[in-house]
């Protein structure tokens, strides 16, 4: 397929693999931030094309994985309520809460619907004035513009039976949390290309400077990732720590200004609890005061609900790159995609699920 196959080309991939081997003289730990990149790395076996000195650490960039148990339980509580149509992106439906997941709520008679766009949920709200329609607004900066637009449209059209359960997370604070951790191993980043398509990459200059780490904005196809790794290794080997853009066909420095403007109109920055990591200050988006009536957590009186994470699951340690899924006692034994203990096993972009699916043995 045009514009896809070119980036999955075998010969070009092997050439980059050789180039990386040629310039690597030391051991380097590189984190790919985005779950989409983790998925591609494991799916295409990209790490097998790297010299043994290069270790890829799978970052916290899967929104499904980092959504706190607390929010999952809230979603289940809301979806189980009478006269509610609960709408969500597909891969949230199977994420286990404390007791069950949204698919089970559906099996028990809850009206749980899978959506491709939050605007579809607004349309459903308009068509069902007798029901409360709630959209599970999950994601990084990539999905924030569409979710903001849904709330904006609902308000403009006076649709009051629509609300969102906000679970938005931001990439740069998570990168800082990792870098400032005393256990940090990460020496360079492949930044998440699609987040940067929205936000640009100005935010990364202070991070690269403060922590002396190279940051390369990187795409999602095998060749993108190999080139991104090459650019990070080159910087590391040359002692540089700059922000570079591998994914220039989709990303520019300023990002998508229209998208940013709707996001800041509807959302403001707030604290956010990450599954397996804990609360990171200023790492999420919450609704602006003007849009507070669209906050499902408040509407359904769930603001005070607090839930702790299960003890056996080490997804937090995995998300920080301190262990690989294979090093988890539960991996593939009591924790499988059918019985996930933590969200990294649920989403196809989670590190544990990717390892389970593509390299069990």
């Amino acid at each position: 397929m045009k514009f896809i196959d070119e980036y999955r080309d075998k010969d070009a991939s092997l050439r980059y693999s050789e180039l990386i081997k040629d310039i690597t003289t030391k051991k380097w730990n590189i984190m790919e931030v985005c779950g989409g990149q983790t998925h591609a790395i494991v799916k295409y076996g990209i790490d097998e094309l790297l010299p043994p000195e290069i270790r890829l650490i799978h970052g916290p960039g899967c929104p499904v994985c980092v959504t706190s148990l607390e929010l999952i339980d809230k979603s289940i509580e809301i979806a189980s309520s009478k006269d509610v149509i609960f709408c969500s992106f597909g891969d949230m439906l199977r994420v286990p809460g404390s007791k069950k997941d949204l698919l089970q709520v559906k099996a028990e008679g809850g009206d749980v619907r899978m959506m491709y766009s939050p605007l579809d949920a607004v349309k459903i709200a308009k068509e069902n004035p007798g029901k409360e329609v709630v959209f599970f607004a999950v994601g990084f900066e990539t999905t924030a513009p569409a979710n903001a637009m849904a709330v904006y449209q609902a308000k403009e059209q006076g649709i009051n039976n629509f609300s969102i359960l906000v679970s938005h997370v931001l990439v740069p604070p998570a990168m800082e949390a990792i870098l400032s951790s005393k256990n940090n191993l990460v020496q360079g980043f492949l930044a998440a290309g699609h987040v940067c398509a929205v936000m640009g990459y100005n935010e990364y200059y202070p991070i690269a400077e403060k922590y002396k780490v190279p940051v390369v904005v990187t795409g999602f196809e095998p060749l993108d990732i190999l080139q991104g790794i090459y650019m990070v290794v080159k910087q590391l080997e040359e002692g540089r720590h700059e922000v570079e853009n591998q994914y220039s066909r989709a990303v520019n420095k300023e990002g998508n200004l229209n998208a940013q403007s709707i996001v800041s109109k509807v959302f403001k920055i707030g604290n956010r609890k990450w599954r397996g990591i804990g609360e990171i200050p200023n790492s999420g988006l919450v609704l602006q005061d003007d849009y507070i009536n669209y906050d499902a957590s408040l509407k359904f009186g769930l603001a005070e609900l607090v839930v702790d994470e299960p003890k056996e699951c080490i997804s937090g340690i995995i998300l920080q790159g301190l262990k690989t899924p294979h090093e988890c006692e539960a991996f593939g034994k009591i924790c499988t995609p059918e019985h996930p203990l933590g969200a990294t096993m649920v989403s196809s972009e989670g590190a544990c699920a990717a390892y389970y699916r593509y390299r069990k043995k």
């Binding site: 397929m1 045009k2 896809i4 999955r8 080309d9 075998k10 991939s13 092997l14 989409g36 494991v42 799916k43 295409y44 076996g45 990209i46 097998e48 094309l49 929104p63 499904v64 992106f89 597909g90 891969d91 949230m92 439906l93 199977r94 698919l103 089970q104 559906k106 099996a107 028990e108 899978m114 491709y116 999950v138 994601g139 990084f140 990539t142 999905t143 699609h194 095998p222 499988t336 995609p337 059918e338 019985h339 989403s347 196809s348 972009e349 389970y356 699916r357 593509y358 390299r359 069990k360 043995k361």
Partner: protein, 348 residues
């Protein structure tokens, strides 16, 4: 006295209610069939583990199968629930290389379903039966209350005669055998998905729904020593290969670049976050044949109208390891796993 085991074999704690994924063609359904149904009905014929049961009646070898159809939308590009109900059952019989003869037709219709739509479905059933050379020999009609069905559900059972002397079964798969696929994958699933989601493409993606009895008979009549046949329906190529690896206890190696995928289907999969390897088909099958017969088989398949784009996609590896490996596009090797539930679209 023999003790009855009253405990449900599917752990109630995990699944107190049936989920959609229990019918999705992946691991959950596989477990349900194995642990509940096979355990409860255990007999030598069920153990054949095949698309249709092969039974002997008064000395005649017969293939027997049944399938239910609940597709939504009822009408989709390239077919409808009627053509699906005929071709699906014809194909299950064809995978034993039986010559399909008679189908039964069970209709469960929801009160309020349009009479004109019903007529269109019935005409489609009649046309598909004619095309496949089968007769609708018996039938049943039930109407359920409004809201208790989804328009129309159809069940068809079918019987066919087995005239060949081959042993077509997963257990007859041999190391070194070659796997041939009769064309590009994923059309049916994507055609349905596009219709449901209102996605539009440059060329409309049309379901591959088709009867496979003739193309299979062409292979059999040419004298090829077919070891196994399997159609790729729910769960797609990947689930079928995993089932075969499991029941034959063999390693299967697939070359990703050799598996044909239509460009529009590929594009839709990229948008929806699907992998065509897991998308449903209704007119695709794989033939597993000895390496020496592979070229001849490929030629016969390619020359049939339902074999356009046939390709050799892989081979059977060594014994005693039930695993499907995929040689990826960039030359690395990975596992091609069975899907655990429904394929869910990704967030980003």
């Amino acid at each position: 006295m023999k003790e009855f085991n009253l405990q449900c074999p599917i752990p109630i704690n995990d699944y107190p209610k049936v989920l959609l994924a229990h019918g999705g063609g992946g691991k959950l359904m596989h477990n349900l069939i194995e642990k509940m149904f096979s355990a409860a009905f255990s007999n030598d014929i069920l153990k054949q583990d095949h698309d249709s049961a092969q039974i002997v009646l008064s000395g005649n070898k017969i293939a027997f199968t049944t399938d239910s159809y609940v597709v939504k939308p009822i009408f989709f590009p390239g077919g409808d629930i009627g053509s699906l109900a005929v071709n699906g059952t014809v194909n299950d019989l064809s995978m034993s290389a039986a010559i399909p003869n008679y189908l039964s037709l069970g209709l469960i219709i929801e009160e309020g379903f349009g009479m004109n739509e019903l007529w269109m479905v019935v005409q489609s059933i009649a046309a598909s039966a004619r095309a496949a050379g089968v007769k609708i020999a018996t039938g049943d009609t039930k109407v359920v209350d409004n809201g208790k069905g989804d328009g129309i559900f159809i069940n068809t059972s079918g019987i066919g005669v087995i005239e060949h002397k081959l042993n077509i079964s997963p257990r007859n798969i041999q190391p070194g055998d070659v796997i041939i696929l009769n064309g590009d994958i994923g059309r049916h699933g994507i055609a349905i998905m596009a219709e449901r989601e209102g996605l539009e493409f440059e060329h409309k993606i049309v379901s591959d729904c088709a009867p496979l009895n003739e193309i299979v008979q062409n292979i059999i009549n040419s004298g090829i020593d077919v070891h196994c046949l399997r159609d790729l329906t729910r769960g797609g190529l990947s689930s079928t290969l995993n089932e075969l690896a499991e029941s034959s206890k063999k390693e299967i190696i697939i070359d990703e670049t050799a598996v044909p995928v239509n460009e529009d289907v590929q594009g839709a999969c990229e948008i929806l976050g699907f992998d065509p390897m897991y998308v449903a088909n209704e007119g695709k099958f794989i033939a597993i044949v000895p390496a020496g017969d592979a070229d001849k088989c490929l030629e016969i398949m390619s020359s049939h109208k339902y074999g356009n784009g046939s390709a050799i996609i892989g081979k059977i590896g060594h014994e005693n390891e039930s695993i499907v490996k995929l040689k990826s596009r960039i030359g690395t090797m990975r596992i091609l796993d069975m899907l655990s539930g429904e394929q869910l679209p990704r967030i980003c």
